[in-house]
């Protein structure tokens, strides 16, 4: 069983986000990048599948700042192969471009199963998983919270609103968009990651020029007004109750 996990790094929301001088993009200078949370779950799911049924786990990611650490951490957890995609990934690269860039590299790996996060918070042109799937002409199911492998098929649990689950079957090879791994991403001690840095290798593969056709253009990027303190509702209990009901109505709750 050949499992590939495609990972991307996204702006870390713990840090302040600012818009660049052009007003159409995020200012990358102060941005720190962190692994897309759902891609972290994908790595975990990949590890679980490997531990259960054997096989090889490869993690593929675009070469951006901080990627080595992410890849070595995956190796420390049990990933077998690490691949970094070299290309012009400075600045905002959309998912259409990433999907096309990863496609050839992943094809060469001849995967049975490709896992990637169901979404990332900076997606503006759709999620990476389904774009990649179609590029590779593979079927795709997203919002996955449970995977089993059965010969040439995979049985998955797809999450619907309100706790409803749809059990689906998909023919392999396929791409799955992971919502949650069957257990939270495991902890790996710093000493193990440091060890991985010494004994693992990150393969570098290059990609032809990025093709971002298919994404939207942004005329304006901005931050919505941030209120610093709550808007206080005044009056006696009845007035406050009434105003609260009005707010509930406006929010679509009532």
């Amino acid at each position: 069983m050949n499992i590939v996990v495609l990972v991307k790094l996204v702006p870390d929301l713990v840090e302040e986000l600012t818009i660049d001088p052009s007003g159409t993009s995020l200012d990358m200078t102060w941005l720190r990048l962190i692994i897309n949370e759902f891609d972290d779950h994908s790595i975990e799911q990949g590890l679980l599948l490997k531990e259960r049924g054997g096989g090889q786990l490869t993690v593929v990611a675009p070469a951006v700042e901080g990627i080595d650490d992410v890849l070595y951490t995956a190796a420390a957890k049990g990933a077998d192969r690490l691949i970094k995609i070299q290309g012009d990934f400075q600045g905002w690269v959309n998912n259409h471009a990433l999907a096309r860039a990863s496609m050839e590299i992943i094809k060469d790996l001849q995967p049975d199963l490709i896992l990637t996060g169901v979404q990332a918070h900076n997606d503006l042109d759709g999620a990476l998983g389904p774009l990649l799937a179609e590029c590779m002409q593979m079927p795709y199911i997203g919002y996955i919270a449970g995977v089993t492998l059965d010969g040439g098929k995979s049985k998955v649990k797809k999450e619907y609103p309100g706790g409803l689950i749809a059990e689906m079957e998909v023919a392999l090879p396929a791409v799955l968009g992971i919502q949650a791994a069957e257990q939270p991403p495991r902890y790996v001690a710093v000493s193990k990651v440091r060890q991985a840095m010494k004994i693992s290798t990150i393969e570098e593969k290059s990609t032809p020029e990025l093709n971002s056709l298919g994404g939207p253009t942004v005329d304006r990027m901005f931050q919505p007004e941030a209120a610093t303190r709550a808007s206080m509702i005044t009056g006696d209990v009845n007035e406050v109750a009434k105003k609260l009901v009005d707010i509930f109505k406006e929010l679509g709750v009532l």
Binding site: I19, H96, E134, I141, G162, A166, L244, I247, V253
Partner: protein, 321 residues
């Protein structure tokens, strides 16, 4: 080619999802700027009755047993044929477990541009998307001559997408749906046991201020009236007044409801950590310096015990009406 806006209707087990109505309302706004009609695209099997209250200028209905319930392969194949035959100006999909499974695939397959996470459209036909955990807005012209768009809720009320008058329904031919790679085996209902508050959209949360176990019932009543669920901060769970599954915060769950009503919660960092993804936090606390007021959108410095009965009454009234 046509200048219409297609809206891909989402339904699950015979129920049209709210996002479909929200998209119809969005579509109505979009055609003001672009021209054309709002056309609902309904895929299903014997699902025509679902079209009855869609606020669309017309409905194109595709019927096939393989479309009875959503699966990505079947829906994608059916839509690919429809869209490429007579490409509209825009196709709206929900940014949901249904819509996102197919919008991106169609973008690559049909070579059509896609913009996601769209919350609303401007009167001159621009998209307005919300990304990065709600911290960033992106605005731009709809790309290409046929644009695919996935939409998130929040920009339009579902009622605006509902109609008292049933729209015209035309049944359209469906291509052969064979060799489908994805099949639905069955649905699994959530356990009748406890709720997963991290998936709940309306939360009534209690803190130390609730004071006794009996008072939790008041919170339960309010939650029931609102159609929500009760949860709490650490001290309440520690006392055993609420199950551990209802704990919100550092040691508990991170929640992301539409509304988080915090009753008698001070807003300690360990609790706040669990609620920052809420759309709207409303805080009721007697202490004006309670840190919760720094992160809530609305607040009231009032005794929650004085407030709760009149509030429950008013909520019930407005629902009854």
């Amino acid at each position: 080619m046509n200048q219409d806006t297609y809206v891909v209707i989402e339904h699950i087990r015979g129920q049209v999802a709210d996002i479909s109505y929200i998209m119809l309302a969005a579509g109505r706004e979009l055609v003001k700027g672009l021209g054309g009609n709002v056309v609902a695209i309904l895929l299903g099997h014997k699902a025509q009755p679902l079209a009855v209250n869609l606020a669309a200028d017309k409905v194109l209905y595709l019927d096939h047993p393989a479309l009875a319930e959503f699966t990505s392969d079947a829906y994608q194949n059916a839509l690919a044929g429809l869209i490429s035959t007579n490409p509209p100006r825009a196709v709206l999909f929900g940014s949901t477990t249904i819509g996102t499974d197919i919008a991106s695939s169609l973008s690559i397959r049909l070579g059509l541009p896609l913009v996601s996470s769209c919350r609303s459209f401007t009167s001159d036909g621009k998209y307005l998307s919300q990304i990065c955990g709600g911290k960033i807005m992106a605005e731009g012209t709809l790309p290409g001559t046929t644009a695919l768009v996935t939409m998130i809720p929040g920009g339009y009320k579902p009622e605006l997408g509902q109609s008292k008058q049933a729209p015209d329904v035309s049944q359209v031919d469906v291509p052969a749906l064979e060799a489908l790679r994805v099949t639905l085996t069955r649905y699994i209902e959530p356990e009748a046991g406890d709720v997963d508050i991290s998936k709940e959209s309306i939360l009534v949360s209690v803190g130390r201020g609730i004071q006794t176990q009996d008072n939790i019932e008041l919170a339960e009543e309010l939650a029931k009236a609102l159609g929500g669920t009760v949860c709490g901060s650490r001290p309440v769970i520690d006392q055993g007044w609420l199950a551990t599954s209802r704990l919100v915060g550092k040691s508990g769950k991170h929640v992301k409801p539409k509304v988080y009503l915090a009753l008698g919660i001070s807003g300690a960092p360990e609790h706040v950590e669990g609620i920052t993804d809420s759309d709207t936090i409303i805080a009721i606390n007697m202490d004006p310096r309670a840190p919760i007021f720094d992160i809530a959108k609305f607040g009231a410095e009032i005794d929650l015990f004085d407030l709760i009965d009149p509030l429950i009454e008013r909520v019930r009234e407005s629902k009854g009406a």
